[in-house]
């Protein structure tokens, strides 16, 4: 029996079609909802239990034995059999998908992360005590936490304000189908905002500060206060400018986006990544429309999200006023002309993008099941009508939260799914495979081989109890683009498009010998 026979991956079950020369990645920070008024344990305690169960009991991966950074001591997290990562970040459980070369794979890999953590909760018997919430806000304290997207582009990508104007136009307007929606709005952020060439306190804008909105279409829009910036926890920007390719820096750049919402619908996840991937391609190839530069993109982002009439009008640098739908249609038109027919996944994205924009011009209820904000708004409106509640009733915030509950017997999104109102982009079988299998056509495949080898070789090592010598000279160090097994030379993996799998096997054979 060959290795591939014994170890099928989801690409064997359902061969993915590939979006041309693109690597996708998603990072999700989860919230934990404790159900007791006076709980015995904190959310952080539960997060530690879930992580430890995943690695020590379920043996889904190997914990780091070295310091990855000042806030990532040994044992804080580790790489998984599927070559993704689970770790604690700012007190949140976070899952980073493996590198994926198709939308099919990235959607399955993202959902695999949800399921890995939810299964750990159920396995621990914690289901009645805590819920895993895949959202981006806390209504009470205005805390926010992210869903980060990663797109590999060429180092020649025009990473300048002018070069990225079409990308910004897309990112500001795509929320009309990628937003997850929320009840209310966040208070003024402690941040500085760019207005023309001035940097001023955001609170000084006095635009919607203090206004109590019933509902807006994006969770993250209120927290984005810059157009370009490198920080990730303060002064969050539409485009994060940190240059960390996690690959050969001479060939690649990683576009890192943190303005998006976590999506519950697979359809919105696929369209978010698919349309953004195509806009990046238009820019790379010099075909992106240049006349769509938005005058004040941060303001536009928030105005679109909060527009109760859903007119979504914004002003361009040219002083022309356009709607978000018009801008999206221009981007779609350019993608139709230059990208159509290049691969099957691109054609799927183009078809669905066109359909979605058409439906967005009609009643929002047509989008229920495909677009998260529309699905949530419909549920809330039905409940409000039945119970005769006004928008300020606290129950609506609780329902908002429940939409994102990953417990399939409770979560409102899963209620919609159960009712047959939600189209699927992947299958439960593929998600199940993606929990322990890496895509077979990226660097993740080689890393997955390493993790499985280590799980079989270093089963006795406990990051909490390992000796000082183990901490100083850990048996293994794994990172996204390089690893080292003790006693061997470092093994670089600078090309995310390469699997390295045969080289990794040879390297590990040498270790065994």
């Amino acid at each position: 029996m060959s290795w591939s026979d014994r170890c099928p991956t989801f690409s064997v079950v359902q061969p993915p079609s590939l979006m041309l020369n693109r690597i996708f990645g998603l990072e999700t920070e989860y919230g934990l909802l404790i159900h007791k008024d006076r709980p015995d344990h904190s959310p952080t305690w539960f997060a530690h239990q879930i992580r430890d169960h995943l690695f020590h009991v379920q043996r889904r991966g190997v914990l780091d034995l070295h310091h990855r950074g000042h806030d990532e001591p040994p044992g804080n997290g580790g790489f998984l059999r599927n070559a993704g990562r689970v770790y604690l970040d700012m007190g949140h459980l976070e899952y980073a998908s493996p590198e994926c070369h198709s939308l099919t794979d990235i959607v399955a890999s993202d959902r695999a992360g949800d399921r890995l953590l939810q299964h750990a909760i159920e396995d621990l018997g914690f289901s009645d005590d805590v819920s895993l919430i895949k959202n981006n806000i806390d209504h009470e304290t205005d805390a926010t936490f992210g869903s980060h997207e990663n797109y590999l582009v060429s180092r020649r990508f025009p990473f300048s304000r002018r070069g990225m104007a079409p990308l910004v136009a897309h990112l500001v307007t795509r929320q009309i189908f990628t937003g997850s929606g929320r009840v209310g709005s966040a208070g003024p952020q402690d941040a500085w905002i760019q207005m023309d060439r001035l940097i001023i306190p955001r609170a000084a804008l006095n635009t919607r500060a203090g206004a109590r909105l019933p509902f807006q279409i994006s969770q993250r829009a209120d927290f984005i206060v810059n157009d370009f910036f490198e920080w990730v926890q303060h002064n969050r920007a539409i485009v994060n400018t940190r240059d960390e390719p996690l690959a050969d820096p001479n060939q690649y750049r990683r576009i890192h986006l943190l303005l998006g919402d976590s999506n519950m619908t697979e359809y919105a996840t696929a369209l978010k990544l698919g349309t953004t991937g195509l806009v990046l391609q238009l820019i790379e190839e010099g075909h992106a429309p240049q006349e769509l530069e938005i005058d004040e993109p941060v303001e536009a982002l928030q105005e679109i999200s909060q527009d109760q009439e859903r007119q979504w009008l914004i002003q361009l640098r040219s002083q022309k006023t356009m709607s978000a739908l018009d801008i999206q249609e221009q981007l779609l038109d350019a993608a139709m002309r230059h990208c159509k027919g290049q691969d099957e996944e691109t054609d799927w994205v183009l078809t669905q993008w066109e359909t979605l924009l058409g439906d967005l011009r009609g009643d929002y209820q047509k989008l229920v099941g495909r677009v998260d904000w529309a699905s949530k708004l419909w549920l809330l409106e039905c409940f409000r009508e039945a119970e005769r509640l006004d928008w300020h009733d606290p129950m609506l915030k609780s329902l908002d939260l429940e939409y994102h509950n990953l417990n399939q017997t409770k979560g409102l999104f899963y209620g919609l799914l159960e009712e047959g109102r939600v189209p699927r982009v992947t299958t439960d079988t593929l998600i199940g495979l993606a929990m322990d299998q890496a895509p077979k056509n990226t660097r993740a495949y080689g890393r997955s081989e390493l993790v499985k080898y280590l799980l079989g070789s270093w089963s006795g090592i406990d990051s909490d109890q390992s000796a000082d010598s183990e901490r100083l000279f850990p048996p293994y160090v794994i990172n996204w683009s390089i690893f080292q097994v003790r006693g061997r030379a470092p093994f670089p993996m600078p090309d995310p498009f390469k699997t390295y799998v045969e080289d990794v096997r040879t390297h590990l054979q040498d270790v065994i010998a």
Partner: protein, 63 residues
């Protein structure tokens, strides 16, 4: 990334991405067919939600 400068990575033959059912094909929203969620289990799910849970959901700011 221009195809001419990047190696072609496709591992054909490949199957098309699963087609999302169009609403009229039965996989999408069916608001017009079934009316409000009062007629199905969605309203039951919503009524089971703890009204105070949003107050209890206190998270740290992340990234």
């Amino acid at each position: 990334m221009k195809p001419s400068t990047m190696p072609e990575r496709r591992e054909g033959p490949v199957d098309p991405m699963p087609q999302s059912p169009r609403p009229e094909e039965g996989g999408g929203p069916r608001r017009q067919e079934t009316g409000s969620p009062e007629k199905d289990n969605l309203m039951k799910r919503m009524r089971k939600v703890d009204p105070k849970q949003a107050e209890r959901y206190r998270q740290r700011t992340g990234e």
